[in-house]
Amino acid sequence: MLLKGRQSWEYDHRPVILGTGTVVGPFEGQGPLSGDFDHIHEELSIGQDSWEKAERALFEEAAQLAAQKAGLSMNQVQFLVAGDLMNQIISSTFAARTLAVPFIGVFGACSTSMLSLAVAAMLVDSGAATYAMAATSSHNASAEKQFRYPTEYGSQKPPTAQFTVTGAGAALLGKTGNGPVVTAATLGKIVDLGVKDPFNMGAAMAPAAVDTIMAHMSDLNRSPDYYDLIVTGDLSKVGYQLALELFAKEGFPIDKTVYGDCGMMIYDYGKQQVQAGASGCACSAVVTYGHLLNRMQRGELKRILVVATGALLSTISYQQGESIPCIAHAVAIESGVN
């Protein structure tokens, strides 16, 4: 049975990740995970004449790479489940136009990677699709331009600020084949504990991550040591610290496993000025589909839980004095041959 507990799915047919595509910008290529990405672009503009077009180009490339590595063409894929940070998710929609694939648009801000993966896995597991692709993208300049200040504006970022990843990650799922398998997912509910500062998203998102992780364990009757590694998407230094405090307050034994955060893995804090760490839809996507799945392939990891976190504010909600509602979606990925 697909539904487990209150808000989780267990995929009895264990959909296989047949291929992934990870592309990033130059800054990410200078970080410690550069060897795990399929393609590192040298120019932030990706050879395009606007930041928005650049993000689209990254998205298309990642999607095409994922299909290529799976040995399939895009017209064999039933559905593309995708989203991004841009208003009206135009990076995904315009890329879907190029890719000419039936499109299910989703919005989860920085939680989109796992939201789309969970939905795509559900489609394949239930027989609603033979092949489904999950994808997302983000671009540092397009995000700054939309949410904060023009990229050449001189404002001093506070130490809680995070740096949006420029990149795109895509995963193609099918019922059978060789590759890591998606075994379960927990869709989060919106959690808002009143944090209002858009320069401190980590603090806003930490409660959502903890809430979803606890719900996951409860729904699936698991405890953290079921997994070799649990990662959150982009809580970064401040949010990660708060998540640990929340786990402690809730009496949740996170110490039974290794707990990390993608936002703290992709950049080199010593050499790259990123304040608290990374954020952006692409953060959890490229770290998971690139780095973590590579580690799984090498046999270093057998079962991981990736909990992507998103802050669901808009510039208007913030200017109207609202707090930042957040969400976290968890997907369990295990190594295995189907």
């Binding site: 932030l44 503009s45 930041w51 540092n140 300049a141 200040y149 023009p150 990229t151 050449e152 404002s155 001093q156 500062d197």
Partner: protein, 118 residues
């Protein structure tokens, strides 16, 4: 003459320090910080203290954004004294015209010539 430069440095730096404290201690973002300082400049000039500050600090008082508030009030006052109450409206941008015109024109030209680099 050297003293002109010393005072420009000391006073200008102090106003910027005030702005930095607004950002770090009161957690104001740059638009809020700049807006507050402009309002402060207008009030200080209303009290008659900004002109003497310009006298001895020179660019230390005219370069920070506070002088924008001072100039707006000055312009309004000038026309007020000349033409009565309607002068508040007609004189406001008289003194600041150079700054605003320059900013608009140079920004436009910059958009023609430069691309954003991220």
């Amino acid at each position: 003459m050297i003293m002109d430069f010393v005072w420009a440095f000391l006073v200008g730096g102090a106003i910027c320090l005030l702005g930095q404290l607004m950002m770090d201690v009161f957690k104001l973002t740059p638009p809020y910080t700049m807006s507050t300082l402009v309002v402060l400049g207008a009030i200080v000039d209303g009290l008659g203290w900004y002109d003497p500050l310009i006298e001895f600090a020179g660019a230390g008082a005219t370069v920070p954004i506070t002088s924008f508030g001072n100039a707006l009030f000055h312009g309004a006052l000038q026309e007020l004294e000349r033409n009565g109450w309607v002068g508040i409206l007609t004189g406001m941008f008289e003194v600041t015209s150079a700054g605003i015109s320059a900013a608009i024109i140079f920004s436009f030209l910059a958009a023609l010539v430069f691309r954003p680099k991220g």
